[in-house]
Symmetry: C2
Subunit: 373 residues, 2 copies
Amino acid sequence: MKNGRVAVVGVGLHPFGRFPDKAVEDLGREAALEALRDAGLSYKDVEAGFLGRVTQLGIGVGQRVFGELGLTGIPVTNVELACASSSRAVMHAADLIRSGAVEVAMVIGVEKMERGMLQPGGERSYQALLGLTILPGAYAMMARRHMHLYGTKPEHFAKVSVKSHKNAVHNPYAQYRTELTLEEVLNSRMIADPITLYQCCPTSDGASAVVLASERRARQLSNQPVYLTAWAGGTPIFDPDEPGLSEGPTALLARKVYQAASISPQDVGVCQVHDAFSPGEIFTIEELGFVKPGEGGPFVWEGGTEITGRLPVNTDGGLLSRGHPMGATGGAMITEIVRQLRGQAGPRQVADPKVGLVQNAGIGGVNVLAFQV
Amino acid sequence: MKNGRVAVVGVGLHPFGRFPDKAVEDLGREAALEALRDAGLSYKDVEAGFLGRVTQLGIGVGQRVFGELGLTGIPVTNVELACASSSRAVMHAADLIRSGAVEVAMVIGVEKMERGMLQPGGERSYQALLGLTILPGAYAMMARRHMHLYGTKPEHFAKVSVKSHKNAVHNPYAQYRTELTLEEVLNSRMIADPITLYQCCPTSDGASAVVLASERRARQLSNQPVYLTAWAGGTPIFDPDEPGLSEGPTALLARKVYQAASISPQDVGVCQVHDAFSPGEIFTIEELGFVKPGEGGPFVWEGGTEITGRLPVNTDGGLLSRGHPMGATGGAMITEIVRQLRGQAGPRQVADPKVGLVQNAGIGGVNVLAFQV
């Protein structure tokens, strides 16, 4: 894969939170300018653009956001894959570079959210007709199944949130930077048993940007390139004989990515997973092969996913406390992995990671991406 | 580009028109099944999916449409580029194949439209604030400019619609299959001078599907492959010194495509262009280099773009009479080019074309694609 290597050369974020006075164009522009500065590139170096967004569904959102950076005439494609939109957009940008069509591409992810907006949609939403109208319900059912099968405890799930909030204190871009105790998490309002309020990601505004380049171009830049060495996406397949314990085909995709990148789970030094609700971290570290099925709860409980643990997970606070502006989330996960692999994560820096993994899940799709220095 | 050749191996449509009793899932499934039959493939052969749509903006439309075909777990990405969504999706599918990641990919384009839905959007729509709220107005201003610069006449624009309606009579998938006289077109209700009602594309429902494959895979199939030999996309750049006479950077993209495919405009035997309003055909054949600037009107008037003319354009009726379900349009253009290049266009067949060109324009983006047998 020597000629085909794709590098991430710049990453940037607009802080996550609530920004009622800013337009998505502002959020996207600020993240993009940070990523371009990080890369040491100017916008005219970018040959193709992708925008990930979910609720900003007017026509041509990407055209307006990229238009804030200049009118260079590059193609801009708007991509939607629910909460996994911008990581999927990064995959397509990487495909484009690997195909040889361009040397530099940029992905911007943006979102300004409103409360209560996420309902399963469509003219044939069997799930909604059957009463499964919100996502915490789906996560809670999977959590209950995990508890039944493996003896996982509500405290295990709550610990995920305690750990992630602790990490977010050290992330200036995070929406919530306040530590929570286990009692505070467990005693917050019940949303869908066993998931309490502080185990749910917030409603967020924010933006992320990722600049990708060919290996040749990356070597001309001053920053240490971080290589995107393998990526795979897929759609959940519901097996009626064994109801899934996560949102999707993470285990299958992870095996593909490990093989393509010639790595094993033991090589991964830092990981970002889709913790829209706290059980997500436990399901996902099992599916990614870091621990055996059923061992996720105790592993988290014993600190295995803390920054100082065997497998640091969601070092930036994750969706739970960094925030989850849907279209921006994948790019934010990648931003954190890149900063960790470069050793730029400051007080939340993991000790010398060489391989980073991103798992980003949305309604209808999951992406797994491996990064290496 | 020998290893990198990408083939279109299957095309399919759901008829364009008004289908209030069908869901987008029905429209998309029917088009997809026709394309798979055409390719001699089954859905389990498809390794990646893309969905182009504009107004069907709920989360995961592509997941629902592809879900109608089976649950194979392939990644499905939703793409939006206004009226050029599905041709852009075809480009990304082709990039994916050229990168070596997959051998077979499918693009489905769908749309169910409502009247009066197209308004320039966004929190900063300067155009809307200035009163340019609908697209016929923009086309009319460009048409007026063309008349002023070159002496183009309203009859020239009207002739485009007469020709396209004549072609659509022979297209069983077309929304309008009735011939119109020049007088009927000119005397229909004025929408934005010089554009009358019968020079505007209709509000449409419909779907298209395109199956793409690597050259290696294409050679194993029984159908004659049609190669997608070059493709380029871009974003309009408004030059205040010379207001554009089309929706975008068509001329620049065409030059890129001709060079990449080692062809010239003289090689093109059949062409599909974005005639959302009748002046579009005249602007575009000039920008694509088939005639000099200002010669488009007389060329159309003298029959140059008829099926028997020097450069047959919109042989299936174009947006004006085949219809324009936005997300499906690019795939429909490609479908017609593929059928023409294979000699399968029946009573609207052009005499032995070897090269076909598609120009698909949307708010915020233009795509030009070259096809060859």
